[in-house]
Amino acid sequence: MNRAAVLAPVWLWLLLFVALPVVIVAALSFSTSIPGVPPYTPLLQAPETSNYALLTDDAFYLNAALKSLAVAGISTLFCLLIGYPMALAIARAPDRWRSLLLLGVMLPFWTGFLLRITAWIGLLRDEGWINVGLQAVGLPALRLLYTDFAMYVGVTYAYLPFMILPLYARLSRRDPALEEAAADLGASPWTAFRTVTLPLSIPGIVAGLALVFIPAMGEYVIPELLGGPGAQTIGRALWNEFFSNRDWPMAATVANALLLALLLPMVALRARQ
């Protein structure tokens, strides 16, 4: 009875702000775009699958999905490669340093996301700080802004804390005696890391990969601000359908497809465990 009372607000929240929107978006994806307010045929009257047909027929959407996959995949990999050593260093740091270092990881959240991404424009543009620095030491300037590279930098930068925090949570609970035992049995520091520390941190790696990859797949702001005009990611495609083309049903279809593409592998993974 008490349990139900405590859980009721949670269920209500999930129903109103998760389940209901998902159902509406799903229903929307089966209607058609018309001029007017709202700009679509009434929901669930004469449902159509033409939007989904377009999704598979027009290579634009598949290419956008592949572009997003590349951006999210490469950036997530960067996050792991940069974030793992950082998380391990924080976990191994003396107690009095640890909270300070963690604060450093989370400090960027205190300022606005847009502001931080915009700041990268100042760093990456042709006359930006990086190029000024390169030229100061006699190196040629590089085209950085509005490239794929700028997108990887932006996504990696923005999502790095989401990789570090779950990794840190896992690594800080490791038993230092296990690494000592490995060394005691003849494992060099690298072998001890490879055979003991790394395998035991896999749950943290999986959590970090999911926390970075999933939002990075749908990322709109970073490709829009830092990426080239040709860098059509799924997030930008969705935005264009919704705001430029005012094709709400198509936008809903793209959103649904993205949701399914992210959800199905996770469900499959769950089922296997």
């Binding site: 296990l178 060394a183 049995l185 003849g186 072998t191």
Partner: protein
């Protein structure tokens, strides 16, 4: 044959001295027990031997090779950790084979060595299990097998029995002794429990404040403690101040609160010098008759407690001292409790007097 030589070993943590110029020789095939209270430096010494602590000064020589500067993974020394530190993501067999894989041993050889070690610790049928699915005693045996697998020159055991139930402890102790006998490996075992040390050691090194208070066989340490600290640590009660009355091979002493006493050993100082004497409770005899004679003192019972194997009496002697007398309960003696206030006589043989230099 000296296997391990520790010379002038000093470990400092800032101003604190954990080990103070320690010298120690351990023989090949020994079961050497490092005994000491918390903060005595026994764990520091074990970690220095394992290579986890770099000593501030001194040398560690194992089988003629100076290993002082070697990191843990280059030392022919293995450890069983107090928490066992078994790798939770590996099966029992993979845990035991870990050190062998690091040596680059062929797969088939690893399998047969692991099998023989699991036989040694009687865990063959558990080879495929994860450590989580084992009991405490079984984990201890896996840790032992894992540490023995690479055939270490020296095996270090950090409080191997402390995490076990009392009933398991005796069994595991026998197991450790058997494995040590069968493998012939030199064992250095750290413990804070003097009973454990007495029951297992070929020799004991008693550490106190970073120094060795005494090194010797269990009987040496128990019967002939080198100092008052050693006597107290080894569980001696009844430590009384005394004065030497006549020096010589069989000294006579004046015990405070008791009177003249005949000892069986040589006084540590000349006549008139002060010392302490330990009278072991189990070497004292108690009689209800008002007996008189050498080393006999009258007194009254303060209290009397049944301890299972013995009855412990506190007796206030007429001279003022209070002694603990531990009376063994032989066949059919019954509880043997004495009413408080009973008049008794306590007596002890000259051999029961342990003379402790100041």
């Amino acid at each position: 044959m000296a296997d391990l030589e520790v010379a002038g070993l000093t470990v400092r943590y800032g101003p604190a001295v954990a080990l103070d110029q320690l010298n120690l020789t351990i023989n090949s095939g020994e079961m050497f027990v490092l005994l000491g209270g918390s903060g005595s430096g026994k764990t520091t010494l074990l970690r220095a031997l394992g290579g986890f602590i770099q000593p501030t000064a001194g040398r560690i020589v194992l089988a003629g090779q100076d290993i002082t500067g070697l990191p843990p993974h280059r030392r022919p020394v293995n450890t069983t950790f107090q928490s066992y530190a078994l790798f939770p993501h590996m099966s029992v067999a993979d845990n035991v084979g870990f050190g062998l894989r690091r040596q680059g041993m062929a797969r088939a050889d690893i399998a047969s060595r692991v099998a023989s070690l699991l036989d040694l610790v009687r865990l063959r049928e558990f080879a495929g299990r994860k450590p989580d699915a084992l009991s405490g005693g079984q984990r201890q045996r896996v840790a032992l097998a894992r540490a023995l697998a690479p055939r270490p020159r020296l095996l270090l055991l950090d409080e191997p029995l402390s995490a076990l139930d009392r009933s398991l402890r005796e069994q595991t102790r026998q197991e450790l002794l058997r494995v040590q006998r069968e493998t012939g490996t030199t064992f250095v075992l750290v413990t804070h429990d003097q009973d454990e040390a007495l029951a297992m050691a070929t020799r004991i090194g008693l550490l106190h404040q970073g120094r060795l208070a005494q090194v010797g066989t269990p009987a040496d340490i128990y019967e002939r403690p080198a100092s008052r600290y050693v006597a107290e640590f080894m569980g001696a009660a009844n430590i009384l101040p005394a004065t030497v009355r006549t020096a010589g091979a069989r000294a006579t002493l004046d015990l405070d609160g008791i009177g003249p006493t005949q000892a069986a050993s040589t006084a540590p100082g000349p006549a008139g010098s002060a010392l302490h004497v330990a009278l072991r409770p189990e070497r004292l005899r108690i009689a209800l008759s008002a007996a008189t004679g050498v080393n006999t003192a009258p007194g009254t019972v303060v209290d009397s407690a049944y301890r299972g194997g013995t009855v412990d009496h506190h007796v206030r002697l007429d001279g003022g001292a209070t002694l603990l007398v531990s009376q063994p309960l032989g066949d059919g003696v019954g509880a043997g409790l004495l009413a408080p206030g009973s008049a008794v006589a306590v007596s002890w043989p000259p051999e029961a007097c342990v003379l402790l230099a100041e």
